[in-house]
Point group: D2
Chain length 337, copies 4
């Protein structure tokens, strides 16, 4: 349930409302806008069903929410959420670019990638130290050694770090190196890990599952937010369909959907979304046009020799070209990059 306060409501009115709700063991979430404050209410359904708040002073109206997700819902929190990643804002006017190799292979590789993406304008370095791979015989990542490489290269070039978590046990360790904790598509409904991320200190980027509905995706984010971590961003990376020309079918309408249904930022990943190098640039442009708050792009110093995902990685030169072209699109939708 949402309690919408009147523009004329006083602080005391608001505190009375909260006090009443808490006295019934209900949890509250405040969203303070320019004109009015909105109080989100979560808790025992039966108690909420019998709540009558309209008669309290300062309450304009109440709205019942039928969707299961609450904290991620734009109904609960009408303003866009802007996440502060150690100084880099995601969800604001500026479109943020995350770039780097699929997997951390060596310090040289990561340094070369970091230098290139920084020069082209990226703010965040991506790279996998723990790789979820279909086969147990494929390269599984360098682990903590890879995290150190990422951190060192990022620090050298003034970048932030986003990297994937594949096991909830690793969260405290990864938090020491990374600025954003990525949940991969295969773990979108690894609910134990989502719960653990709810008490993580760092922002979380939640990739859409291979065949997750938008509703399931929002509910997965709700798992993290109910744990207390409000810094959640989504990442569209393509869904599984019958089409085989592309690696996945990138669902750009999902970006519009998330913007409509939630206040949280959303990142677009055209590299995994298409799996084909020539499509990365046009789909990056389209992602900005449809409303993405950030882009995630695979860049490898030498894609043909990449240990994974070479087909979809840009060279530093291609990435530079791409970045040079995004400013006009961003401007056309009232953003900067």
């Amino acid at each position: 349930m949402i309690v919408v306060m009147s523009p004329l409501a006083t602080k005391e009115n608001l505190q009375d409302v909260i006090k009443k709700l808490e006295s019934l063991n209900l949890r509250t979430h405040l969203s303070t806008g320019d004109e009015r404050t909105i109080v989100g209410v979560i808790g025992d359904k039966k108690i909420i069903a019998n709540l009558e708040m309209e008669m309290m002073t300062g309450v304009e109206k109440t709205v019942r929410i039928t969707e299961k997700y609450k904290l991620v819902s734009r109904d609960f929190h009408p303003q866009d959420t802007v996440i502060d990643v150690d100084g880099v804002e995601i969800g604001g006017k500026e479109i943020v670019v995350m770039a780097g190799p699929c997997a951390v292979e060596s310090l040289e590789q990561v340094r070369e990638a970091a230098r290139a993406v920084k020069e082209a304008g990226a703010k965040i370095l991506r790279g996998g130290a723990f790789k979820p791979r279909t086969s147990p015989y494929d390269f599984q990542g360098l682990g903590e050694e890879g995290l150190k490489i990422l951190r060192d290269a990022a620090d050298e070039f003034g970048l932030k770090v986003v990297t994937e978590v594949v096991d909830r046990e690793d969260i405290p360790m990864i938090e020491e190196y990374a600025d954003i904790l990525q949940v991969g598509a295969r773990n979108m409904q690894n609910f134990q890990m989502l719960k653990a991320l709810g008490s993580a200190k760092k922002p979380v980027m939640l990739k859409r599952g291979l065949s997750a509905t938008i509703s399931e995706w929002l509910n997965a984010a709700e798992y993290i937010m109910t744990g207390g971590n409000e810094n959640v961003m989504f990442c569209e990376r393509g869904i599984r369909t019958y089409e085989t020309f592309t690696r996945n079918t990138m669902d750009l309408s999902a970006i519009a959907a998330i913007k409509e249904l939630s206040h949280l930022p959303i990142v677009a990943d055209p590299s995994h979304g298409t799996g084909r190098r020539p499509m990365v640039a046009p789909m990056a442009r389209a992602s900005i046009a449809v409303g993405a708050d950030a882009l995630m792009i695979e860049v490898h110093p030498n894609p043909e020799r990449a240990w994974s995902d070479g087909n979809q990685s840009l060279t530093p030169a291609q990435f530079k070209d791409l970045m040079a072209n995004l400013g006009d699109i961003a401007k056309a939708v009232g953003r900067t990059i």
Copy 2:
């Protein structure tokens, strides 16, 4: 097979090549560029397999094509094809907008829609007179009477007409009223109709089938082109996936794919592609950003009373707003609108 002529080849060299190919009962398609001419060769596979053209004067090299589609392939015809729709060019620098109601309901409805879309900048009026409907008890369209209404309204406001063909028998009659013949998603592999459209005089807009692969779509266009009608454009209108929040999943990467694989123009239909009014504008913007040559948008004077597809139709005012916003995006990708 493709025979690439040398930049130094003379007209006589080219004619010798063509003469030789025709003497073997092979068909040829010329694509004349600024620097060199390319000769596409179609016919008996065994004869082509044994062809040795490299030794002929003026031939630079030959390329074997493994894809089944030839005439639609960009290998065969490297330059973009621009289709002239009675003075309106599709596939050139200008992005063309087609708009109007899902179904023709009455002269008043169509006139009102035509006036509105013309004022906002559309060049082509859309509307269905023959409606393929899931149930036999649903409204099946006004038929020829609907075509007259479309033509009259279009002429009054200086618009061209695009409308759907559902039966190959109707083609000659529909050609008298329409400027573009639309093949709907359900008929994308109605091969008899595609063959008949091969000898139609008007351009054809081929919508992607509900679950058609990009390869099947290109081959469907090949059916039309082999019949002699070279004015074929594609239309992405969403594919069927597990997601139910949207009516279809609009596959914008398919637009990039068509641009890569074919020289033919492509139209984006965010109305059917999403089935949800609030998504039409963002997905229209993204369609332009990814490279679409035209947009198809449903506009109804009174969407709540539309006989079909009301949920996805814009009001005239919403359409006007949308059009006012597309210029910047078009400019950002080097196009006009």
Copy 3:
């Protein structure tokens, strides 16, 4: 709407009911069971909405139908429909087997196939004379010459003929050769052809579209039945999914669904449904177990040399083995074969 007559209703009561409905320009369809008669009512929704039939003598109750399909619905016609194909019954206790090559290639090929499938116990010969092919350069079938071959081979060995219709213009001609008119997956929503089949004299087998929902499939059959042709059977041949190990994903639950929702018979096609020879036998067994009324199996005298679908065709020997194994399964579900 359905009008359920009382077990005690007289013929006069029934005639009064029909007279009343027809006087309101409503159409009626009778379903006469052992105990009671059911009158299906179709026509103007507003008139039906205001109908009050319960007070008429002999009427037990009326039931409003919310699904769009009526005539195909088991609500309208509770008993199983048994279709008489020139003496071969489909939908009764006996499971009927249709077998033969994908495409008619030559008289020798079809005669050899016909002899083999007849000896193994098939009742109906399958074979395509008109082939819907993805590419215009693929073999499109022998046309009427192929139909003659099919008919001659079938007559020689005492078989019936099922063959595909790809153009409504061909229906009268194909009816002269075939006993069952097949609608292929790509034409399931070729509504003009469905309407034309509504006035055909021969039974129709309606294959499920590549990505058709069960509801769309039932409505497609409704198009045929509303035209007056009540001899419609369904055919499950696999749907399109992300899985590539099989050619399609055969949806056996659709057979259970059709049996629940409709009174019409259903055929299972494990050859197209799986596209892999080793799976044909196990999926044929499962089809019978789940309730299929008939099987359609591709058999080619020499699969490696088949012009199409060789990978999924059984040899005559494999088909004989398969048939020898189906009796026990049929018996286990109270059927014969």
Copy 4:
């Protein structure tokens, strides 16, 4: 690589082969058949590429395997694997039935279910104590308390227990109560958990992911087997498609595929596979017909009051009817039940 020993090979020949392979740091897996022994070889690809084993005495031939999965492959292990679940064999001639409620709700509920399923012939009790739920506000299971209930009810009625693991940390605790550890669809590619299950002492049942390919599924099992746990069985529970009439689309051809590609047993779950009570019985029959080694069926004493999945649960009476009907089908495919 597979080394196929000659039927005439001596034990010494075999030991020489193994010794040679181990000296190269390669791992070996023996599969001893009636006639010959097969040695599966896993390890460094480069070393294997250069292996020349054919000249060793007793070696008949070597076969290179291109698929990434090895230990699960039927090439490596031609005989069917039979898993001994504390005396109940899965993968042998007898089809084993696992049944019980979706979630453990109370001791009474589980006891009632256990009594009913035992009486009807089930050998294994199913029930979830840890429930992966789309929303954080849905019932998440009773946890260890639920496991105790399951164990007690199972012991009282002489049943074994299968239950889901959702967190690798819980494995040792769950092993104390359960006989089979279930991996749910959402965790099929939770690779950390799969690795942990590789050192579990109890057999694992690996459900197919919502949109997992057969190849991904086999590779997921390979993760468990490479860890040393050879008692892995698959469970087909339906995949995600566009069809909404059923909860999932149960892919029975996947059962045939697993039987072709792997030696491991496979369970069919028509309750989750269809999500609709009336379809459970026909799809259970079809599962046996296509080759399933076991069935998993949801049974609840009072489905309308079930906390989850009530729509797909059978009543005890319905389950009894179902079981009474499966014997004939089992017999028809040479099995018992």
